[in-house]
Assembly symmetry: C2
């Protein structure tokens, strides 16, 4: 049952009484063939149920119309919505999307490059923040396909990046807190080396400075971006008794840790403390109190990135090295007016 011999272009040609070249043209460049012929061809196509064999086509045309997406973890809710955006745009433009779940494993990354080197994919989307291991090594020099980075820019390279404007987003977030009367605002960061963290911290500082609020270094703490580190940072503040009225967190996971810690201490949120996150991950609306945060336009990021990559594939040079999209302020219930000074 498997191989009931699909109709080929020859079958169609025979039925329509034309050559295979004409069939090909009738399908791909309809205006190049006479009306009558075109009609006969499409009739023959309908009759045979012909679909062009993508393999033969790709072989001949030296392009597969496939895009490879390399991500450390497709299941990560932060990534998966970008993925949806990528897929939507690709599909709209007639491209297919191939996924490579690298699990941050160098071997697997290298392994996925076979899709590129064997012509199974024309372009590459990178979630990883670095070039895949295995490029530019040994024989034959690098053979870099067109690529675009999302989620994290690729350092030391000119790979175009599409992402959220972290600086601006963080500034807006901080200003939101300030507008609610907060002046002692803590920043719970990721590790300082991360580019994302740096930008978000800068946005925080810029907002404070812009409003003439002095920056208290004791209110700026490092973490590692996890819920646990959010909790740890909060506890640390209570131990040292240097307390803010609001916490701005580098991401929602961290903010969740802060909330859990404050809830455990029986504080009434947001009356006694305000907490803000960044990202708007799926459970942000389910925490109690639901989390006020900056929403990453993930779908849009995916679409833009794919759009850029496809433009690259069509030979257009990238207009800009970086496309930054605005994060959107999502007001929920974790931020209230500052109760104390």
């Amino acid at each position: 049952m498997q191989h009931q011999k699909l109709a080929t272009i020859e079958d169609v040609a025979a039925i329509a009484g034309v050559s295979i070249a004409t069939v090909s043209r009738a399908i791909n460049e309809p205006r190049k063939v006479a009306d009558e012929t075109r009609r006969r061809v499409s009739e023959a196509v309908a009759q045979t149920g012909y679909t062009t064999n993508a393999m033969a086509r790709s072989l001949r045309m030296r392009r597969s119309n496939m895009i490879l997406i390399l991500a450390p973890d497709v299941g990560d809710p932060n990534f998966s919505n970008i993925l949806v955006g990528l897929e939507t745009e690709a599909s709209k433009r007639g491209y297919g999307v191939l996924i490579g779940n690298t699990q941050n494993d160098a071997t697997r990354e290298t392994d996925y490059l076979r899709f590129i080197s064997s012509n199974q994919a024309d372009g590459l989307i990178l979630f990883t923040g670095h070039l895949p291991y295995g490029f530019g090594n040994e024989a034959g020099e690098a053979r870099l396909p067109p690529m675009v980075a999302v989620n994290e820019p690729v350092s030391n390279s000119d790979v175009p990046f599409v992402g959220v404007d972290n600086f601006e987003g963080s500034r807006v977030a901080t200003e939101h807190l300030i507008s609610q009367g907060h002046r002692r605002i803590a920043f719970i960061g990721h590790s300082t080396s991360k580019a994302v963290n740096m930008l978000r911290e800068r946005g925080y500082r810029a907002a404070l400075e812009g409003q003439g609020i002095p920056i208290d270094p004791r209110l700026i703490l490092d973490g590692d971006g996890t819920t646990e580190s959010g909790r740890a940072a909060t506890e640390h503040m209570f131990v040292r008794d240097v307390l803010p009225t609001a916490f701005l967190c580098v991401n929602d996971a961290t903010a969740l840790g802060v909330i859990i810690s404050l809830n455990a201490r029986r504080y009434d949120l947001p009356r006694e403390f305000s907490v803000m996150g960044f990202d708007d991950i799926s459970f942000a609306s389910f925490v109690t109190p639901s989390l006020t945060t900056m929403k990453q336009p993930r779908l849009k990021i995916g679409e833009e990135a794919m759009d850029l990559l496809l433009a690259l594939l069509e030979g257009k040079p990238p207009r800009q090295k970086e496309v930054l999209l605005r994060a959107e302020l999502i007001v929920r219930n974790s931020v209230g007016r500052a109760a104390r000074e």
Copy 2:
């Protein structure tokens, strides 16, 4: 830069001083060529950086080593981990994974079938619970590729299904509640027409009956599987003043609604009410109180499903129409001993 003309099998053959047939054999069936020749070939391969062109290979072999995954929403956290499992297994076996995000749109579903009919994919994984629209219609009759369903079985078909044992899982969940002294246990369901709901409700009934606990129909409520419906069902119970000591919910989303409702009424959980979910979605551990639930072995489901599909592709008949995996009881903090009778 794009097309620096990759090395072909001919280049390798020339360097190694053999025919292309021998190169092909040296690569694909090494034991069929003499040691010395094999050595020369692999040297030439290394020297040229040759990789076999997958398109040419697929064209000739009439198989692409690609699997198409059709899912309504790849971003859904319930799906994405299955996806990871699918991808892991496929990758391990040398297959690539193509994603089709259908968004429950019939047009898009049909559109993705082009991957099948154009030979770009050898098999199909279905998340949708139904055959894609466009199969078995008009000319040429159906051309069904080997396929396997996950997440939801395909009704009225003999498509093999890999999923969680809902009946058994629900029974275990109910027994856990009973073991904590609960006897008045509510079941907040999905719409009764859903297969998943039916099985989980049956498991619930079976557990109660097994322990000789009478079933109170007033404690069985319908919903639609959303958080909102969980909340609504809970409110409904308070209005009618028919109260359980524990809530067993058809899924975690519903359980979350129940918890939110109870929290809002200022009950102390799990002292005054116990709540149990099913699925173990990512935020289950972040709610307060963190949710006791039955964990779906999503990774494993993905792996098993892919394993089954690949077996099918290799011509082995499926051993069974349904592979049911055990759900695992995850004890967190939303279930306590029954305080009242």
